[in-house]
């Protein structure tokens, strides 16, 4: 079952929500002073995140600078039953930080201090607004790095990474945000402060960091995060291989994994993605049907041996050009094109939709040919950029909004690609999150009892559904009872949508 928006795929949310009572605004102002935004012109900055086709104007935006201020704000929200949405840098791609109707946005951008660097124990304690790449920058002089590296790492925040359980190209070997978060200080939706996990591993009790990371802001607001950092590998080499087709490149990926190697990253781009990257950042990629980037890191002797083996496998699978980037500068150029791939689409198409599906890696050839067929049938181009090692696809559906009906068809195509991923035993999201965009797809991946069971966790953390309500799940479970009766979605009540 899913919620069908009747009006328009570009949801028209109310532009003029009910104003907060002056009394409540005064209470907020008493907490954050000038860190309170209520001017419509300024509020527009916060009406969407990186998924710009969903917009809701918040009633107010609050910019706290400390845990105590976050707590005071949440207490007011709890008392007045005002829903709140925590926001980091607003780079999310699933509408996770989309404001909610009649709600406020709590921006953590001003809580951006690195509080502690403990090198002997490889821990860093940060506030949620710290930018991802700033962590690595801070510890790099000592030979350490923070492993999760979403493509937006130069602007996205650790708090946002925690909410989305962000990945990145290197999570094939190093894991996701959840692998690297050991503990958190959290303001719960009832305004209490709790400490989940600890600086040491294996804290007794339930794995609360495990459930909090990736909960997309629905369980509370992280105000401090204990991260684990890693020692930079002795040697990093990136091999670039050009193939005639993604099928050949896919066979090389299977060969590499089959040979028992675990590269730090394996990335694939198809011709359309290569063209866009070239037009945008001139990474010097060969013009080919399928491009593979394989990064091997580790002890020097190991890397030298394995890069030869990867090279041999690629040649056997039809690679006609192989380059190995050895210096940091060479590697930066090779990665530049890949990291800029999404934004580069603007060079070859007026509009595009970024999708984030996952498939078992072995289904790659079948899924790619099916995407090609679907793309031809819709008459829309699809560029493909993947984290090929772990089967995470980022199909980019290109369209022109000015052509009537094309946007709807593009959305339909991108949804159908996700359906294909689920059919192959995969997932509707590998790293972007469910958020607002894909909550209706959850029912295609999980059965109702699965979703109901997940929401038991929500009921334990946020029984009143104040923290980022309405996201992730297609339907909200009532928390008071063991099995709650069906609760209509507000959009359904207002006649904007109906369940199908």
């Amino acid at each position: 079952m899913g919620l069908l928006i009747l009006d328009d795929p570009i949801t028209r949310w109310p532009d003029h929500p009910m104003p907060l009572e002056a009394r409540t605004l005064e209470q907020f102002r008493a907490v954050v002073g000038r860190g309170l935004i209520t001017e419509a012109s300024q509020l527009h900055t916060y009406e969407c995140d990186g998924l710009t086709n969903f917009r809701v104007l918040p009633q107010a935006v609050l910019l706290p600078t400390s845990t105590a201020e976050v707590q005071a704000i949440v207490r007011i929200c709890q008392r007045e039953k005002i829903p709140f949405v925590a926001r980091g840098s607003g780079t999310g791609l699933s509408g996770g930080a989309l404001p909610v109707d009649r709600g406020v946005v709590i921006s953590l951008a001003r809580m951006n201090r690195i509080l502690e660097v403990d090198l002997p124990n490889a821990r860093v304690v940060v506030e949620p607004g710290v930018i991802n790449s700033d962590v690595t920058q801070r510890v790099a002089p000592h030979g350490y790095f923070y492993a999760p590296d979403p493509s937006s790492q130069s602007v996205c925040s650790i708090g946002g990474n925690v909410a989305e359980n962000s990945g990145g190209a290197h999570c094939l070997k190093y894991g996701f945000t959840t692998t690297h978060v050991l503990g958190l200080e959290v303001v719960l939706p009832d305004g209490s402060i709790v400490h989940l996990g600890s600086r040491a591993v294996d804290c007794p009790g339930y794995d609360l960091p495990g459930i909090f990371v990736g909960s997309e802001g629905t369980l509370g607001i992280a105000t401090k995060i204990i991260l684990r950092i890693l020692k930079k590998p002795a040697v990093i080499q990136t091999l670039l291989a050009a193939f005639n087709s993604t099928t050949e490149a896919g066979a090389a990926v299977s060969g590499i994994i089959g040979a028992g190697m675990l590269p730090a990253a394996i990335e694939m781009m198809d011709n359309l993605a290569i063209q866009a990257a070239e037009a945008s950042v001139h990474a010097g990629y060969p013009n080919c049907g399928g491009l593979l980037l394989v990064e091997i890191d580790g002890p020097a002797a190991e890397v030298a041996y394995l890069i030869d083996e990867v090279s041999r496998i690629c040649t056997q699978c039809g690679a006609w050009e192989i380059r190995v980037a050895q210096s940091d500068a060479e590697r930066a150029v090779v990665w530049k094109g890949r990291k800029a791939a999404f934004a580069a689409m603007g060079r070859i198409s007026p509009n595009y939709i970024v999708q984030d599906g996952v498939i078992p890696r072995t289904a790659l050839p079948m899924v790619l040919s099916e995407i090609e067929r679907m793309s031809a049938a819709e008459g829309l181009r699809v560029a493909n950029v993947f984290h090929a090692g772990d089967g995470n696809l980022h199909p980019l559906v290109l369209y022109d909004r000015r052509i009537a009906g094309q946007e709807e068809r593009a959305m339909e195509l991108s949804i159908n690609i996700l359906r294909l991923c689920v059919k192959c035993g995969g997932s509707i999201t590998g790293e972007h999150g469910v958020g607002e965009e894909k909550k209706m797809m959850m029912g295609e991946m999980f059965a109702e009892p699965d979703l109901e069971t997940m929401q038991l966790v929500r009921c334990a953390f946020d029984p009143e559904h104040l923290s980022n309500p309405g996201k992730v799940f297609p339907r909200t479970r009532l928390c008071a009872e063991r099995t709650g009766p069906y609760q209509p979605h507000p959009l359904e009540v207002s006649g904007v949508a109906q369940f199908f």
Binding site: N121, G143, T179, P233, G260, P299, E431, F446, M454
Partner: protein, 423 residues
Amino acid sequence: MDAAWSDLRALVGAEHLRAATMEDAVDGILPEMVVEPGNAEEVASVLKIATAASLAIIPRGGATRMAWGNPPDGGGLILSTRRLNRIVEHAWGDMTATVEAGCTFQQFQQTLAEHGQRLALDPLWPDQATIGGILATNDSGPLRVRFGSLRDLIIGITLALPDGTLAKSGGKVVKNVAGYDLPKLATGSLGTLGIITQAIFRLHPVPRETRTLSFSVPDSGPSGAASMNALVLAIQDCNMVPTGVQMRAGSSLTPELDVRFEGTATGCEAQMEQTLRMASGARCIDSPADVWNARSTLWSGTEPSIVCKFSLLPADLGTFADLIRQASERLRLPWRFVAQAVGVGHLRIEGPDAPALLDAVQQLRQNLESRGGSFSILRAPLEIKSQMDVWGSAGDALPLMRSIKAQFDPTGVLNPGRFIGGI
């Protein structure tokens, strides 16, 4: 109650429901019956019947870790997963595998090895321990220094809940952020939220080569522990990639260190040379046989003893070893520990005198908890277990944990009283 037994009998068949014997007792509590459902649906139905009859359920896999946890508040029914022992799928091309909870770790690992793969985990007693039991107790060994613990390896789970719901979470792909991460919540929850019926894991290749080096330092006093700790940190702080860094020490054992490398032969050799250079102040010794299974020896021996799991910051390892030495010298208690460089270890303290053991435990726990670590008792005489929460403190998160428990198991039938804070 009789109605519940007959319902259960009808469900699983008379041959899979029997009266419990003394061998089934948990911390002196003798349950009434033992039930062995044959599939996930039967597990869920057993839970539903037991919940309706308010029967406390004690889940059991290979029964290797039944002593872990507080004494149960009650025990009506042991639910054994012994018959859920299939390996459902080994998708070797995708490096994932789906396995039922009652499958032994060894059987699972042997099947994965047919395609040169493994679950990169080294739990205790792999020949008897089941996947479900290992998950419920969150057991991990030396490999975690490189591959993390179960939370980093599990990607999907099926849970049976007390109301008879069978719920899946996660999936068969390594990368997946759709919905809440229940696989992690269930891992280490000691069967208090639901019964794990099936799990899906990401796999790693069996290494091409493995090499181990061991070292000792001559001094058993504070400087010995400190220099060993310094070496552990130095190995972590260089850019080698060991798959085991283990410190062993005891009242009659000067600190020893084991380092393991896996990968290509040239990679292993180069890292061994580097380690030997770094450890020039220590003495290279022959590695004891089966040294990577050393922690299991802490459970053997006839002396009255306690076995504990501790966690701490890696840089505190030397200080902690010294603290154990001081406490045990004062109380005249022999001890041994095996610790992994990530800051997790197991400790055995021996002695016939329960108050002395209790004294040592309290002192060590207090010290570790004040530094952000933890100290949990895994095995101890009942008179000690009944005097304290074996798990230690959950801090200010305990109310939240209770509230999660209340959502999943509102009537408290699953392993009652055995988890932290009496959950």
